[in-house]
Structure formats: structure tokens, C-alpha cells
């Protein structure tokens, strides 16, 4: 064979594979970023979207054009529901832009993006003690990790960046592999998913709960949290009363105020479940200081409401099934760090509904304004 013919066939192989990869990734749209039609059994369930959650959220916000945006980490993503019927009509549509593992700095970036690209009127932010723990020598202006999306979230003229981001997702072997896995997992009831309104139905946890029982889920999570709390991380930078997290929170509140966005913030109910552990590792005072510091921050602002669901209540003290009990289903918790939608409904109900439909009040207190 002549070398020229060899090179020609090599190019054919190259171009055909690239074209096929582009087409598959575009049609299956594993991260819901191209917004191609969703066909049941083919690409409706987005089991791999969590892997590109930053981009997924950006496209979601732009597409849904929400009036209310939910911000925070996995506790908000899993526990709060944008599709809840309890959201007042005036606050809909709601979009769940929470990102697992994220913090106030990420929340700030996404609120900024939502304000720039849409018509946000209300933001709901879950406040989390664990994600506020930082290295005591951290810089107060430590940049937040947003993958490639930092510039895109904050810049007005970002066409080149947008094109680059789409290109990097479609011309990607991960995109191709995730496309195949997306198709493969359509019929798996326990495959993860991210819904168009940003909610995470947490199918995989339904699987774990059935397979392992709640007792084990609690045990595993607690041992992880114990390690986390055993580290030297604290809420403040050494010898200050500040941290990148508190600074980001202040910026976020100001951003909301300057754009006429009403901000609802709340301490997660899971803190109540972990109170004994927090006390046993000697962090109780620090935990209270964290709450006090946030209360202090919001007290001079008029566009904010601060709620506390972290106090002990009947709901947050739900009994955990015994070891080996694989049938008892918990109503409010997946494990101590993550509550279920049911508890999230009660938060929505308490904060946004005048007539509370639940008999088990009071759950949570309004800390500010009194």
C-alpha cells in the first residue's frame, strides 16, 4: 500500500470516529447541556449529570429562568425539592442549583450568574457548619474551585468561553463514555438522576437503603464525619473572626440586596442529628459561635430572613432502625448528614406557608427578623 493511501485511511478513521463521538454525545446529552429531546428509555434519566454538575446548573438556570433559586450543597440538593407543591405560586418556577461539596463561595457565583441571566426574585440558601470548616491559615480571599466555569459564571462577555465549554464536553471521551452509561442505566431504578428543575431524586440511596439498611448508612456516615471533625479545620482563620466562607456570605447578601432578591437562609436540620457528636468532639462552642457569627452578619441587613432548623425536635430525633433491620424505612433521614424531601417540605412549609399543614409544629425558629 502506498503511504499516501495509508495516511488517507488514517484520516478517514479519525474523522469518522470523531463525528460518531460528537453525534452520540449530542444526541444522548448525558449532562443535559445540549437540551436535545429526551426519549424515555434512551436518555431521559441523566445518571451521569452529577459529573458535570457545574455546567448542568448553568444551563438549567438559563433554561428554567427561575423566580426562586435553591443554593447550597448536597443537603439542599437532596433534601429540598424545586418541584414541591408547597412553593407559593408567586415564587415559581423554582430551580435547585445546589451542588454537592460546595460552599458559600460557590453559592455566590451561582446567584451572580442567575441574576445576570434571569429574573430571580428569591434565593434560598442552606447554611452548613461542616462546609464552613477551613484550614486556619487559609487566605480570606481564597478562590473557589469552579472548574472551568469560574470566568463564565462571573463575566458578561463570555461567548468564547461558552463555545469552549460546549466543545470540551462534546469532544470528550468522558462525554462519550457517559453517553453509553446513560443509555445503559435507563432501566436501573437505582441509577442516579438529575431532573430538569435541578432536583436529585436520590435513586441510588433508595438502593443503598434497601440493600444495606438504614443502620449501616448511619454508621458509615458517622464514622466519616467523626474523621472530618477530628481534623484541625476551624470556622475562623487563626486569630481572626473571619473566613472565606463568612466573607462570601456577606458578599452574597449584598449581591442579593443590590439586585432586589429576597434571601432566605436556614441552618440545616441535620445539625441537630449530629449535636451529640459535635459535643463529644469538643466543638459545641465553636458550632454555637458559627451560628452566632451568621446571626451577627444578617442583623444589619433588611433583605434577609434567617431560620434555624438545627434545634432538637421530634422530627430530627427519629429513631434509627436496629442493625440487620432491612425493612424499616425512615421518614425523614437517609443518614445523619442528609435529610429526605419530606423534611425539606416542612422547611418550605414553615418558611413560605402561612397555614402550616403539619401537626408537629414547632419545627424551626425564625431568628431574624424577629
Amino acid at each position: 500500500m502506498r503511504p499516501v493511501i495509508y495516511i488517507r485511511y488514517l484520516f478517514y478513521g479519525f474523522l469518522a470516529t470523531m463525528a460518531l463521538a460528537f453525534a452520540v454525545t449530542y444526541i444522548i446529552d448525558p449532562y443535559r447541556i445540549f437540551l436535545t429531546p429526551e426519549i424515555s428509555g434512551l436518555n431521559e434519566k441523566k445518571s451521569r449529570a452529577q459529573g458535570e454538575i457545574f455546567f448542568n446548573r448553568m444551563v438549567g438556570i438559563k433554561t428554567v429562568q427561575p423566580t426562586t433559586i435553591l443554593l447550597g450543597n448536597s443537603r439542599v440538593q437532596w433534601g429540598m425539592s424545586a418541584r414541591s407543591q408547597l412553593w407559593p405560586q408567586a415564587l415559581r418556577p423554582v430551580y435547585n442549583a445546589a451542588i454537592p461539596g460546595s460552599n458559600n463561595q460557590t453559592a455566590f457565583a451561582y446567584l451572580q450568574y442567575a441574576i445576570r441571566t434571569g429574573n430571580i426574585k428569591v434565593a434560598v440558601l442552606g447554611l452548613d457548619y461542616l462546609s464552613s470548616l477551613i484550614k486556619i491559615n487559609a487566605a480570606a480571599d481564597k478562590p473557589v474551585i469552579l472548574g472551568n466555569y469560574g470566568p463564565l459564571l462571573s463575566t458578561e462577555n463570555s461567548m468564547a468561553q461558552t463555545v469552549k465549554n460546549y466543545f470540551l464536553r462534546i469532544a470528550s471521551i468522558d462525554g462519550l463514555i457517559d453517553s453509553f452509561l446513560t443509555v445503559f442505566e435507563q432501566k436501573n431504578p437505582y441509577a442516579p438522576d438529575i431532573l430538569p428543575n435541578g432536583d436529585n431524586p436520590l435513586n441510588e440511596y433508595k438502593g443503598y437503603a434497601t440493600e444495606k439498611g438504614y443502620h449501616r448508612l448511619f454508621k458509615n456516615y458517622l464514622s466519616g464525619i467523626k474523621k472530618r471533625l477530628g481534623r484541625k479545620d476551624r470556622i475562623f482563620i487563626q486569630e481572626t473572626d473571619s473566613s472565606p466562607e463568612f466573607e462570601a456570605l456577606k458578599r452574597l447578601i449584598d449581591l442579593a440586596k443590590n439586585n432586589n432578591v429576597k434571601l432566605y437562609m436556614f441552618f440545616h436540620p441535620y445539625h441537630s442529628t449530629l449535636q451529640d457528636l459535635i459535643t463529644s468532639v469538643g466543638r459545641r462552642e465553636e458550632f454555637d459561635n458559627w451560628k452566632r457569627r451568621i446571626l451577627h452578619i444578617v442583623q444589619k441587613r433588611d433583605n434577609v430572613e434567617l431560620w434555624d432548623f438545627s434545634t432538637r425536635s421530634e422530627l430530627t430525633s427519629e429513631a434509627v432502625p436496629e442493625a440487620g433491620d432491612m425493612t424499616t424505612r425512615m421518614n425523614w433521614y437517609w443518614e445523619p448528614g442528609h435529610y429526605k424531601n419530606g423534611l425539606g417540605e416542612k422547611i418550605i412549609s414553615n418558611v413560605f406557608q402561612n397555614n402550616l399543614p403539619y401537626p408537629d409544629r414547632p419545627f424551626g425558629n425564625k431568628l431574624y427578623p424577629k
Binding site: Y6, I7, G13, T17, R169, I173
Partner: protein
């Protein structure tokens, strides 16, 4: 600029290639000048501040080499002092950039001082071009060099395919190639073969090495945080790194060899299926071959080699490997890695001495069982070494090694246990803890490791695969691959290589730097 980047593959290489062959039709000097310019551009793309450094180093060594190589009025002793001064200058430059902070850190610890760190960015490739030029000076002193032009010498040092991470080329195998007229014409056979080897390397790096990297990174990160790493995780982390490093570095070497071949330049082979080695000496004849050659010719032999008895021989071997270890990085773990390999080599040579005196052992050596055990011991010794090489501290390396030895206990993913009844019973009987939500990752890590192992052991390496002529023939001791798959110029291979090129391009979105760039 790195090989596995859009700008290198789709812009730099085509422009460099076109310019080279276009200018070669006009003038040989223009063509070589163009390649030198391209090489500086390639180097400066990373950090332009260090272009003067490499230029200065190059000019200094060229001048010194010319003086040492010429029949000047200098006597033997004067030349010797000049050589020592030249080597010292090169080493001081390397020590300043690479080891200053390491030295400060240790002085601070030892004498409770607080000198503090100095902000120094390690110039890319400094370890490689320093060694390459020290070899040139030594050879010039020994009268082994010819009179080379500054232009050719510049290309010898900066030629972009080998500049950043080797192979560490030798002047006698490179400079004559720059003068050959035949190399100034497009040779389609070389374009085809070079492209094929480049794509194989690209695939090794972008698809395999970067694909397996997350599994090793995760485990070494856990180990660094002092969380005890259990048995299966420790093995998956160590094995994943073993293959990540091999496919990353040998992928780089293939891309270097392939891209050089496009310009009709042959680079020496740097990897010859090292994980097929049956003893540690064999491993070092197959792994980073050009570094081994340098260490042997310019450190081990000048130290006395094996000429002064066994004790001196083993001491020399140990010293050479420790220098090799610290060359890779300024850290005690690198030094210890070198020490380990020095110890391995000492044991290996001692064992060989015993075997050579025993007819029974000599006969057993050819048997499959002996070979299997030898392979198993060798590969495990190499893996243990890689754990220290990769870990950020001794404690994290020891954590992983404890895990591999079973001292951190066992842990299995519940998702796997619950699907295998026998395993479930065993886990319950032995009270082995299980983890939630890690089954897919656990399985994938071992699938990756299994696949890499099969590729490394069964398939021919890229030189064997493409039947490329080896210019460093002393290392051409390859055995016949178990799966004799060989490349030919035909449609099937053309399309296959095209598909591999596309998959590698698709993997660029996650491509990390080459591991050897840090050395």
C-alpha cells in the same frame, strides 16, 4: 507546550514540518535553523523566562566542549580542571534550581534555623539538558567528539521531541543525523511510521495513563491524610500508579520518537517492555534506558564500576542509584527509592553469583516456574519502589505498604459482596467490613489494572510493533512478544490508528501533564 495538546498536534507540528521541508529545498542551514527556532518556541511556550537560561547553558557548554575537544595549547591537567569546572557549573545550576529549597528545609530542621523557602520555579527540562551536556563535555575531554557547528549543537540540545523529558540523547547518535542530506527530503515511509508511533504514544498517554490516573491519585491522597488504607485499595492504588507511570512515560517517549521521525531523525528507544523483566538488572536495561545508560557511563564507570572488587562494585552501584533517585526529585522519598533500587541490584548481582556457581540453579533458570517466580519478585520489588516514588511522604508510603501487607485490614464494597453469595458468607463469617457506593469504582479500577497488565505483558512494545530500527542496539535484547501483533501499512491498521488518534484527541479534555515533566 506539551505533546498531548491541541496546539501541539494541530498547529505546531504541521507548521514545523511544512517549514522544515520547505526551507530544506532552499538551504540545509535554513532548515536546521527553522528547527532550532521551533524548538525554542516550543520551550518558551511554557515559560519564556527560561529561554535565556537554556540558551546560556547551551552556549557555555558548546564553547567549553569545543575547547576541550580541540588540540589546543592546554595540557592534560589543565583540560581536566576545565572539565571539572564545567561539570561543577552545570551541577550548580541544577542544584540551585532543583535542590535549594530541599537543602534549606533540611538545614532548618537539622539546626532549628528558619531560613525559609525561596521562590524558585524549576525550569522545565533542566535535569535532562544538564545531563545531556555533561555527557558531551566528558566525551569532548576524552576526544570522542567531532567539531560540530553551533547550529547543530543547538539542535542537539533543544530539539523539541526530546527536550522536555528525554530520551537523554547522546551527541554521537544525534549530531551526525543532522548533517545527512537524505534527511532533508520528505520520506513518506517515515511520515507514516512516525505518525503511527506518535499515535500509539498519544493513546498510551491520553487514554490509558490519564484514564487510570484517578484511581491512583485517590488512594495516594487518602494515604496522605493518614487514614489507614485497606488491603484492596492499597493494591489498586499502587498498581494503578505502576501502570500510570509506565504508560505516561513510555507514551511520551513514543510521541517523541514518532515526532522526531517525521523530520527523519531517529531517537534512541527509551522503553523496552520493562514490566516483562525477570530480574532488576533486566528491568533497568528496559526502563528509561537512556538514563540508565547515562548513569552507567558517566557515574558508575568513572566511580570504578566493577573493577575493584565486589564491595567497591556494590558501593558504586548503590551510589549511582541514589544519585539516580535524587535526580528524579528533591525529596527523601526519591532518594530512598534510589537506595531501594541500589539494594535490589546488589541482591540481584549477589544472587547471580550464587547461581553461576550452582549447576542445579543454572539449569532451573530456564524453567517456567523459575521465570514466573523471578518475574513475580521483580515486579513486586518495582511496585514497592514506585510507592515511595509516588508518595508525598514516608508516612503515606508506609501507610500504603502496610495496607498492601494486610496490616490495615480488609474492606470490600457492599455492592460486590451482596451479588456473590459465597463472598457474602465469607464476609459475614470473617466479619470483614463493607463499604457503600464504591462497587463500580472498585471494579473499574481492577478492570483498568487487568487491561494494562495484559497490554504490558502480552503485546509487543511500539518499536517491536512497528519494526522500527533501533539506534541504541545494545538494548535490542527483546524477546518475542506473547501476542505477536505487528503493524503493517494496510487499510485495517490505517483505520485502527485513525480511531486511536480520535479517541486520544477526545481524551485531551482531561489530559494532565506528563509525570516526567516534574523531573
Amino acid at each position: 507546550m506539551i505533546f498531548s495538546s491541541y496546539e501541539f498536534i494541530f498547529v505546531f507540528i504541521p507548521v514545523a514540518l511544512f517549514g522544515f521541508f520547505f526551507l530544506a529545498r532552499i538551504s540545509h542551514v535554513y532548515a536546521i535553523s527553522w528547527l532550532v527556532f521551533c524548538s525554542f518556541f516550543f520551550y518558551g511556550w511554557w515559560d519564556i523566562r527560561y529561554v535565556p537560561l537554556i540558551s546560556g547553558s547551551m552556549l557555555f557548554n558548546y564553547l567549553l566542549g569545543t575547547i576541550l575537544g580541540k588540540n589546543t595549547n592546554l595540557n592534560f591537567q589543565q583540560k581536566k580542571y576545565l572539565l571539572i569546572a564545567g561539570i561543577a557549573a552545570n551541577l550548580l545550576l541544577l542544584i540551585f534550581f532543583k535542590y535549594t529549597n530541599f537543602l534549606i528545609e533540611n538545614i532548618d530542621q537539622l539546626f532549628s534555623t528558619s531560613i525559609g523557602f525561596i521562590y524558585i520555579t524549576l525550569p522545565l527540562a533542566i535535569s535532562f539538558f544538564t545531563f545531556q551536556q555533561i555527557a558531551y563535555l566528558v566525551d569532548a575531554y576524552q576526544g570522542k567528539t567531532r567539531e560540530y557547528s553551533l547550529l547543530h549543537y543547538s539542535l542537539f540540545v533543544t530539539f523539541f521531541p526530546q527536550l522536555i523529558a528525554g530520551p537523554i540523547v547522546h551527541h554521537k547518535e544525534m549530531l551526525p543525523q543532522f548533517s545527512l542530506d537524505i534527511n532533508k527530503k520528505i520520506r513518506l515511509q517515515n511520515i507514516v511510521k512516525g505518525t503511527t508511533i506518535f499515535v500509539i504514544g498519544f493513546f498510551k498517554k491520553a487514554v490509558i495513563a490519564d484514564g487510570i490516573a484517578p484511581y491512583s491519585n485517590k488512594i495516594f491522597m487518602i494515604a496522605q491524610s493518614d487514614v489507614p488504607v485497606p488491603f484492596f485499595d492499597a493494591w489498586s492504588g499502587a498498581l494503578a500508579y505502576t501502570f500510570q507511570l509506565y504508560f505516561d512515560f513510555s507514551g511520551y517517549a513514543d510521541m517523541a520518537i514518532g515526532s522526531a521521525l517525521l523530520f527523519n531523525i531517529r531517537l534512541p528507544i527509551n522503553f523496552n517492555s520493562p514490566y516483562k523483566a525477570l530480574n532488576i538488572s533486566d528491568f533497568w536495561r528496559r526502563w528509561h534506558i537512556t538514563l540508565s545508560r547515562f548513569l552507567k557511563d558517566y557515574i558508575y564507570v568513572p566511580l570504578g564500576g566493577n573493577r575493584r572488587g565486589n564491595t567497591r562494585r556494590y558501593t558504586n552501584m548503590m551510589a549511582t542509584m541514589i544519585i539516580g533517585g535524587i535526580w528524579h526529585g528533591a525529596g527523601w522519598t526519591f532518594l530512598f527509592w534510589g537506595f531501594l533500587h541500589g539494594a535490589y541490584l546488589t541482591i540481584d548481582h549477589s544472587w547471580n553469583a550464587i547461581v553461576s556457581r550452582s549447576p542445579t540453579l543454572l539449569a532451573a533458570r530456564a524453567r517456567p516456574l523459575y521465570k514466573s517466580v523471578a518475574w513475580l519478585i521483580t515486579i513486586n520489588a518495582v511496585i514497592v519502589g514506585w510507592v515511595y516514588f509516588r508518595a508525598e511522604s514516608f508516612s503515606s508510603a508506609n501507610n500504603i505498604l502496610s495496607g498492601m501487607a494486610g496490616l490495615n485490614g480488609l474492606e470490600l464494597p457492599q455492592g460486590i459482596v451482596s451479588r456473590i453469595p459465597v463472598l457474602q458468607e465469607l464476609v459475614m463469617a470473617l466479619n470483614i467490613p463493607t463499604t457503600v457506593g464504591t462497587a463500580a469504582e472498585f471494579l473499574l479500577s481492577y478492570i483498568w489494572i487487568g487491561t494494562c497488565l495484559l497490554i504490558a505483558l502480552l503485546l509487543p512494545n511500539s518499536h517491536e510493533f512497528t519494526r522500527l530500527r533501533w539506534i541504541n542496539k545494545e538494548n535490542a535484547n527483546s524477546s518475542r512478544p506473547i501476542a505477536p501483533v505487528f503493524w503493517r501499512i494496510n487499510r485495517i491498521w490505517a483505520v485502527t490508528i485513525g480511531v486511536m488518534a480520535a479517541l486520544s484527541t477526545l481524551a485531551l479534555t482531561r489530559a494532565g501533564d506528563f509525570l516526567y515533566f516534574q523531573f
